[in-house]
Symmetry: C2
Subunit: 168 residues, 2 copies
Amino acid sequence: MHGGCVASRSADSRTGNGSPSAVDAVSLAIIEQLQEDGRRPYAAIGKAVGLSEAAVRQRVQKLLDQGVMQIVAVTDPLTVGFRRQAMVGINVEGDLDPVAEALSAMAECEYVVMTAGSFDLMVEIVCEDDDHLLETINKRIRTLPGVRSTESFVYLKLKKQTYMWGTR
Amino acid sequence: MHGGCVASRSADSRTGNGSPSAVDAVSLAIIEQLQEDGRRPYAAIGKAVGLSEAAVRQRVQKLLDQGVMQIVAVTDPLTVGFRRQAMVGINVEGDLDPVAEALSAMAECEYVVMTAGSFDLMVEIVCEDDDHLLETINKRIRTLPGVRSTESFVYLKLKKQTYMWGTR
DNA sequence: TTGGATGCGACTGAATCCGAAGTTGCGGGC
DNA sequence: GCCCGCAACTTCGGATTCAGTCGCATCCAA
């Protein structure tokens, strides 16, 4: 499967206004449950949010189909053999989109975002070692047409990483 | 619950050498399966990786217990009511740790990482609106003792967000 | 060789998932 | 006012899956 890009999928459902296919309070509560444990049984979620098991199942399916949420395993890259990570700020000449698309297509890019400020794009890179990191930045990113300059921030230590959006 | 920080948990199991309680190839294959679909049945995973259902279940449980992996729902913050996100680069005077700790304790900070380069810390912030974002950066981050300067990159559009570590 | 620990497959009852069908509530067209 | 369609919910029964537990093979150290 090629799946796995929340942003682009949800962008589809967002065409038009700024407030997408609004997620109501109940669905938010369901998401919170699944943020605590992605395999929690539907019946348990239903009890927590006041819905039947089937209703929860239908809502979860819809949230997944719409790309509002995905249920996945996440790991600490360091424990699975990726020893170098970096954030790369990029300045682009002309249209951002083709560059952003090209970056998104690269397996090493975990995270691609367009920003306002002194960078046009910020990209998180996950690599196996220094050589891999160097090659990715120097040979693959900096040579993309439109890329004017880059600045790299190699990760020294990951202090916090959460997935609790909506839980506040 | 307060759970949910992969980094700190896996750091515990990482004390000692650089290569932790090494994840073998079969467990990696299991992780890959769960990165595609966090609710995939154990039997289906077993068929894919060549193990019995029970063996997969035991391995998954161990991976979860060890903090190597967690199975969670992830969302695009924009679709669940958080309309402003930013990456903030921070320069610190003196020891980084207390500042990193303070940032990690803030609910708005999704992601805190120490970096090499022209920033000492990079932090991802998720806020409900502009006021919230301004207050967080200006009143809560910039006033932390030790923070010398900050630079903000407000997100315009999230292009890619994956959790496919290890899938390559 | 022996003892202990570990990982695996097989089995079983209980819990869960899943699809189909029926119910309710609401708004638009006639 | 009435009917129709739509969307979300509930109920229900059968198939599947989950969570223990058991015995067995392997590996490693004593």
